[in-house]
């Protein structure tokens, strides 16, 4: 993933109006409502432990010290650009030029970690706060590695995903996704219906493929028994 693509895709982590950007970053209006008290810091890094430690320190002394922050980590495959992407209140913030204390700390940390730089098979770390309850991505993982993030507003069509033995075809229709076909024998994945809300997922165990709608689950339910 190129830096430009990383920043572009990361901006969709929250419902975002992409604005206020400095030169060098893509300017695109997504036309979704801005929400207050929300932020997301996405990081592609080849040194997850060191990065986490640094970012924890930033949070401790930042305006986000009292926020309830969620953290998740994904293994990525292939070549990527290690960098930060910060979204605050719906806006992608160019931390390299922004004057806030938080951005200053990020700049310092980026220097320490030699960001941006090309890395292979890194980790994607996501720190976020605020409850959007709105779908953002269809996250596709194979053998517990994130191989693709398909924005929910992407064009309709069939997406092929290679599993551990065969393949699965994912049908995206509007803001929902369902399994169109699978080479597995069980075929339970074909009966799972559509997913469209954060926290919902489709799983094909034989192929070790999971597709989940990223984002914060709506409402106050923490976990679902089924």
């Amino acid at each position: 993933m190129k830096r430009r693509d990383f920043l572009r895709s990361t901006s969709l982590l929250l419902p975002v109006v992409w604005g206020g950007l400095s030169a060098g970053l893509p300017e695109k209006l997504f036309g979704q409502p801005t929400e207050n008290n929300m932020f997301s810091l996405s990081i592609v890094t080849d040194k997850p432990s060191e990065t986490i430690h640094n970012v924890e320190n930033i949070f401790r002394f930042s305006k986000y010290s009292n926020f309830n922050i969620n953290f998740s980590e994904y293994k990525l495959v292939g070549k990527h650009v290690a960098d930060f992407a910060l979204i605050e209140n719906g806006n992608l913030v160019n931390y390299l030029k922004n004057g806030s204390e938080f951005s200053k700390y990020l700049r310092k940390t980026a220097q320490n970690l030699s960001f941006p730089k090309n890395v292979t098979d890194p980790a994607l770390l996501i720190f976020s706060a605020g409850n959007s309850g709105k779908p953002q991505y269809f996250d596709v993982s194979v053998s517990n590695k994130l191989v693709k993030r398909i924005p929910v507003n992407t064009k309709n069509g069939i997406y092929k995903i290679n599993g551990i033995k065969g393949k699965l075809e994912l049908e995206i229709n509007g803001k929902s996704a369902k399994v169109f076909s699978s080479s597995c024998r069980h075929k339970t994945c074909l009966e799972m219906g559509e997913i469209k809300n954060p926290g919902e997922n489709l799983v094909c165990i034989p192929e070790q493929i999971s597709i989940s709608v990223s984002g914060t689950r709506k409402g106050n339910i923490d976990s679902v028994t089924f």
């Binding site: 953290f71 069980h186 339910i221």
Partner: protein, 344 residues
């Protein structure tokens, strides 16, 4: 008057220590906590865990160890993995006893206990029948067997024919053709083991969900308990009921987890050990228990027993909620009294 410097110095020293200690205490109390989430495919399902911790790297390390432990349990108890102790027992059914670990022995003893309490409605020797259907093996196609095949396989379903010898820790399945299938207990046990690892590593607030079977530890936030939703059987996006939980397990058996529609009929993985066919009285059954193993086994049992008989059985002292095949929700007074489920 001579000033006793040492005493003053020691007082200052004590004050300094006290201040430092108090500051440390307040720093500990005010340490920022994160919600660290992991979602992985494991044990033939998705395992989703969220822990509350002030140190993300420590939480990650603990989660890694917990997932390794659950993987170990899967390798030990899976009935379709080569090299598992259960596979060994199955391979030598009717031939000779198999030496197993004390852990496997104790799990099988527990399984037999559940079978006795359920009068055979929960039976881990269901393997000969479930193998015919292909529910347990992800590399097989789910098929509708001939009734004659089911009748033949049913002859090998009887938990009383598991011969356990605690002295030399061996297990023998009495008849050739018998097969253990720990699908109704192994996942719960793995959750308990994963939870124990997290607790041993100092993580006290977490929620571990393996394919809908859950252990909840501690609190979500200082004054907020974790909240669990029960999925609607015919609409995975809908929640039928919700309740708060703390330091307890919950498991659901549903006819929508592993199933196949054949000629318009839903055939699912919760098989009745008496007739070899999927249970037809419930769409789902949710049970709360101190351990996930217990909740897992009892959810299977009560799913097959059905709401009417389960509610009438006064010997059942655990909270449960059953959604019938007509979509009606029933729960016992223990569930209602202690957990006050919010029906949606």
């Amino acid at each position: 008057m001579r000033i006793k410097f040492p005493n003053i110095l020691s007082s200052i020293f004590i004050i300094v220590i006290l201040i430092t200690f108090t500051e440390n205490l307040s720093a500990q109390e005010n340490r920022k906590e994160y919600s660290v989430s992991v979602n992985k495919i494991l044990m033939g399902t998705t395992v989703e865990t969220t822990v509350r911790s002030p140190d993300i790297n420590e939480a990650k390390e603990a989660l890694l160890k917990a997932y390794k432990e659950m993987q170990r349990v899967e390798n030990l108890l899976s009935s379709h993995k080569e090299g598992s102790e259960i596979t060994f027992i199955n391979n030598f059914a009717g031939i000779h006893p198999v030496k197993v670990s004390l852990e496997t022995l104790l799990i099988l003893k527990n399984a037999i206990n559940y079978s006795q309490h359920s009068k055979g409605l929960f039976d881990v020797t269901i393997g000969s029948v479930s193998n015919l259907w292909g529910f347990s093996d992800e590399n097989r196609t789910i098929e509708l067997p001939d009734s004659s095949q089911i009748d033949s396989a049913l002859k090998y379903v009887n938990y009383r024919n598991i011969i356990i010898n605690p002295k030399d820790t061996t297990v023998l399945l009495k008849n050739k053709g018998m097969r253990l299938d720990l699908g109704g207990i192994a996942k719960g046990y793995a959750i308990d083991r994963g939870s124990a690892v997290l607790k041993n590593l100092g993580i006290s607030n977490f929620i571990l969900n393996a394919g809908g079977d859950i252990y909840v530890s501690g609190m979500k936030e200082k004054n907020t308990e974790w909240k669990i939703g029960i999925q609607a059987p015919r609409d995975s996006k809908k929640i039928d009921a919700a309740f708060n939980l703390k330091n307890y397990a919950v498991a659901t058996s549903g006819d929508y987890e592993r199933f196949r529609i054949i000629n318009g009929v839903r055939y699912h993985h919760i098989l009745n050990p008496f007739n070899g066919y999927p249970g037809r009285l419930s769409e789902s059954c949710t049970v709360l228990a101190p351990t996930a193993e217990e909740a897992d086994a009892l959810a299977t049992f009560l799913f097959l027993k059905g709401a009417n008989k389960a509610l009438a059985d006064k010997s059942i002292k655990i909270p449960f909620l059953i959604i019938t095949t007509k979509g009606k929700i029933f729960y016992n007074s223990i569930f209602n009294g202690k957990y006050k489920p919010e029906i949606m």
